[in-house]
């Protein structure tokens, strides 16, 4: 069992991080903390994705010395996907933060439930 876990350590840590972020999203009422939770979730997914492409003992896929045998480098695809994913998460975070600023200006609170209640009462 232990060896199984160590072999999948990255995966397990990624899942644990994802769940922590998810719990953050569900339990926190403060928007900033919710956004932090979302970021943790994203990071967890990137960890999972990046570790799928890793191969023990190999180098990053940048061919400097002209060594072109495929068995010297790791799988480049997940790295590329992570790059794309990071940009997505940056944009989403910026958008959520700007929405939070507007919400704070309007209702003077960062508590999403509270603001929702105020918005409902506005009719």
């Amino acid at each position: 069992m232990w060896s199984l876990i160590t072999r999948h350590l990255n995966d397990i840590v990624a899942v644990a991080l994802f769940v922590i972020g998810f719990a953050d999203l569900l339990f926190q009422r403060n928007m900033i903390k919710k956004i932090i939770g979302l970021n943790i979730m994203d990071t967890a997914i990137y960890l999972l994705l990046a570790s799928q492409g890793y191969i023990t003992g190999r180098k990053a896929p940048i061919i400097v010395d002209g060594v072109e045998s495929a068995s010297a480098y790791i799988n480049p695809i997940p790295s590329g996907l992570v790059l794309t994913g990071i940009v997505v998460s940056v944009s989403v975070t910026a958008l959520l933060l700007s929405l939070t600023i507007r919400m704070y200006k309007k209702y003077h609170s960062l508590d999403l439930d509270h603001c929702l209640m105020m918005a409902r009462r506005e009719g």
């Binding site: 191969i55 480049p76 910026a94 929405l99 003077h108 609170s109």
Partner: protein, 282 residues
Amino acid sequence: MKKDDDLQPILSRLSGKLRSVYKITALVLVVLLFFVLAAAMLGMPAIGNKNNPDNNEVARRYIENGVEETGAVNIVSGMILDYRAFDTFGESCVLFVATICVTIMLRIDGQNKEDDKEAEKKDKTSFGIRESAFKKLDSRYYEPENDSILKVSSLIVIPIILVFGIYVILNGHISPGGGFSGGAVLGAGFILYLSAFGFSATERFMNAKTVKIITLVALLVYCIAKSYSFFTGANHIESGIPLGTPGAILSSGLILVLNICVGMVVACTMYSFYALVRRGRI
């Protein structure tokens, strides 16, 4: 935080029963999700094993023929900007659409202005701060006029940051890095410059108009370059763009151009996010 008095009963009622039911369900859900996913992970192919199904002919071809086919020594750059360029094109559009949304939210004109004034009033009453002191607290009016430590140290650091950012962008195809990371470094440099010397200094080279033009031109070039390569690729026409010698700065065809475009877009986006948050216009 002070809440409205007549909201209190509703909130407390909600935070009573409903809240606890919600919390228990959510907790169960979270724990369940962890165990399901962890169990699934334990059965997946082990990490770091070279015989995993994902180390197949696709990855092998990228590494073996990547340099020859794309001209980029950095295989990841070659992959995201040539083999899988449609994804990356989508990625820049994500950045673009996020900028548009942030602009709608934070650029101050019309409705936004009223909200702002009200928020200011509330801030003053709830924190009980004198007008003059408040102006200093609010970042929109706060310019660090006398912060000489920041000024002097940023004078030394900013040129290095900017040069490094440009280096990362221009070497995206031959070393680690690329348009996005270099653009983020450049954007950080601009933001540091802004916080050290204030808007009056940055407006000389970065204002709403320049940001708009740079973003427009970079995105258009990106869009046209990619459309050209998609169109020629799909219709089996030779693209006719020289790939150059792998490893040189001027090599790898369109990848260098695309990296520069992405870098400019990202730098402008980062800067405009910061400026919009701080004073409501770029």
